[in-house]
């Protein structure tokens, strides 16, 4: 569009300047001829001058000249037009008028631009030129310019549409792949169009990036797995030794000490397990399948029901909402949320809802407890972070971190807000295509 505006401006300028030049040059020619004739009038005697004008006027359409000479009493002396009596033009002024011309059978009207000069002694002379072609030239030029603009605009629109479509297609492909990659299929690559253009370059750079991400993730996962394997092995040996020591302990003090060691080992094991679960969710390598989120939530609420006070835990779950996910991790995330609500909600009502919301399965857990102050909400999802005042309650500081990691794995947003009073935690997980239809 901008291109079209610029074109109109430039061509408009050209048109304006060109017609100005043509008009000025034409007028100069007329003025020069009129001046030359006025000098002739002064230099020659009147009869010779009249004859000269009559000669010039004889074949007016060959040279395109128009003349009319009038005497002091307005009498016609020579010329090829009769317009002076009707023209209200001061001497030295310009006039434009139409003259009917017969050429062969065709009657045409020509446009004339003329100058009227006072020759002295009451004689007046009109010198004019045919400017019909000037107008024609201007019209042709205008038409050409209009066409140029129209063609340019059409071409611009078409190429814009075509380019836009190509870019949109490439962007779509990249976006779709990014989505799939974000949910774990790191082997994904974009297809090259083979045209070698900018989009192809972009795609191939994107693929390089993917290869790099995949190799980093694979390495990280391998390191994680082998470290986890190693740590678990060590922990297992320590536990074996401690358990052996406890069984053989005769001294009650010794027995109590080994009991404490065992408890610490178990806590360490639980923490390690928690961290590894978070790492699994974050690595994006956990295999996903279609999971009925409604069923998972219903079962989990049912599972926790006996731990809650009678009537404390209520559910409002829309059945049959299926998401692409990891059942165990989703269940564990929800379990952590329920566990938190039961622990920190201090006996206040807890509501679990699952409902459809614009292509998402919206899972919400809310309590009416003290909630989490705004400034701590972000912090609460970080590993080992526990909120002030919760040190007396059991917990590892990994619960919400896992929820956040599971949310990321499912391309879901984790939102915490004030339920006034209490905490509301919302996970919006994209529904599968079949479920959202």
């Amino acid at each position: 569009m901008l291109l079209a505006v610029a074109m109109v401006a430039v061509l408009g300028g050209v048109y304006f300047v060109t017609s100005r030049i043509i008009a000025t040059e034409g007028d100069q020619l007329i003025a020069l001829e009129a001046q030359g004739l006025a000098e002739d009038y002064r230099d020659r005697d009147l009869d010779a001058f009249v004859t000269a004008i009559a000669d010039r006027a004889e074949d007016p359409w060959v040279r395109g000249g128009v003349y009319e000479l009038r005497g002091p009493r307005g009498d016609f002396l020579a010329g090829n037009v009769v317009v002076l009596p009707e023209l209200a033009v001061q001497p030295g002024g310009w006039a434009e008028f139409e003259v009917a011309v017969t050429r062969g059978d065709a009657n045409a009207s020509r446009r004339i631009r003329a100058r009227v000069v006072e020759l002295g002694g009451g004689f007046r002379l009109l010198v004019g030129h045919d400017v019909q072609d000037r107008g024609a030239f201007r019209a042709v030029m205008l038409r050409s310019i209009a066409w140029a603009v129209v063609v340019t605009v059409l071409f611009g629109l078409f190429s814009g549409w075509w380019l836009g479509r190509r870019i949109a297609r490439a962007a779509h492909a990249i976006g779709d792949s990014a989505g799939r990659i974000a949910s774990g299929s790191l082997g994904e690559r974009l297809a090259l169009t083979g045209s070698g253009d900018e989009i192809d370059t972009l795609v191939s750079r994107f693929n390089d990036l993917l290869a790099r991400v995949e190799s980093l993730t694979t390495t990280l996962r391998a390191v994680l797995d082998s470290t986890a394997h190693d740590l678990r092995g060590h922990l297992n040996r320590i536990r074996g030794a401690a358990q052996d020591a406890r069984r053989t302990a005769v001294d009650p003090e010794q027995a109590a000490a080994t009991e404490a060691v065992l408890a610490e080992i178990d806590r360490l094991g639980t923490t390690l397990q928690g961290l590894l679960r978070i790492a699994l969710a974050e690595s994006g390598t956990a295999p996903l399948e279609d999971v009925n989120l409604s069923a998972v939530a219903t079962e989990l609420a049912d599972f926790y029901q006996p731990v809650a006070e009678p009537g404390q835990l209520t559910v409002a779950i829309e059945p049959g909402l299926v998401v692409r996910g990891h059942r165990q991790l989703l269940a564990q995330a929800l379990a952590n949320l329920l566990d938190n609500a039961l622990k920190y909600g201090r006996g206040t009502p807890i509501l679990v809802t699952v409902r459809r919301d614009a292509g998402l399965a919206r899972l919400e857990v809310r309590d009416a407890g003290p909630g989490i102050p705004v400034e701590y909400r972000e912090l609460a999802t970080q590993r080992f972070r526990r909120l002030p005042g919760s040190s007396g309650l059991p917990g590892s500081g990994l619960g919400l971190s896992l929820v956040a990691a599971v949310a990321r794995l499912h391309q879901a947003r984790l939102e915490m807000s004030d339920a006034g009073p209490g905490l509301r935690v919302v996970l919006g997980i994209p529904l599968t295509r079949a479920a959202s239809a």
Partner: protein, 225 residues
């Protein structure tokens, strides 16, 4: 029972063997995959304990080969790889149970017990009986001393699980996995509360208590306690 333990971590193997021997089991230890497969093929065991990652021959590979020869010996896979998905792999390969390291000896012993017992009794019996408590899995009906007991679907499943393991110790984790298929620690004492509800339903008002707590291990449903 007679147990084959294939575990390359010698010290872990020693502690485990010692602990199991103290519980009255006969343990044969092998420290690599090849030897493990050979021993499993030639010897006769009530149950196999296989480490998941073994030198020379992977634990999963041993399971596959044994199953390919038609061996139905119960196999418990021990692994330091503990993710739900690893577990699924292990069970798919033909393992009967999967336990992650570090494990509690009580947990392992309970699971071995359950595995060996399952081998002897078919799990398809639909009428289960312990003392005067009767459960008809097909009719989904429970009676105690001839009186009908109303249970929720989950309570019924929980009772069925306990009855199929009657006389054995079942751990909280076994219940969590067997009844709910949850593979995480629910933190709070949810299982205990479910058990106490079930106990209310089946034992309340009866002189003889059937559902017992085993300290430090889990629960057992038995008439002789």
């Amino acid at each position: 029972m007679k147990i084959l333990l294939v575990e390359d971590d010698r010290r872990a193997s020693e502690y485990l063997a010692k602990g199991l021997r103290e519980l009255g089991h006969v343990i044969e230890q092998v420290f690599d995959g090849d030897g493990g497969l050979k021993a499993a093929e030639t010897g006769s065991y009530d149950v196999l304990i296989l480490d998941r990652m073994l030198p020379r021959l992977d634990g999963l590979e041993i399971v596959k080969r044994l199953r390919a020869t038609g061996s139905g010996v119960p196999i418990l896979i021990l692994s330091a790889l503990d993710e739900v998905d690893e577990r699924i792999q292990g069970l798919r390969a033909g393992g009967d149970d999967y336990l992650a390291k570090p494990y509690h000896l009580e947990e392992l012993a309970a699971r071995l017990d359950a595995l060996a017992r399952r081998q002897r009794e078919s799990g398809s019996i639909s009428k289960l009986l312990i003392a005067d408590l009767e459960l008809d899995a097909r009719a989904r009906r429970v009676t105690r001393a001839g009186r009908k007991i109303d249970l929720t679907a989950r309570e019924f499943q929980l009772l069925e699980f306990l009855m199929r393991h009657a006389g054995q110790v079942v751990t909280r984790t076994m219940i969590l996995e067997g009844v709910w298929d949850y593979h995480f620690d629910p933190k709070t004492n949810v299982i205990d509360v479910h058990i106490s509800r079930l106990r209310q339903a089946i034992d309340k008002g009866f002189e003889r208590q059937l559902l017992h707590t085993v300290r430090g291990a889990g629960y057992t449903l038995t008439e002789d306690a």
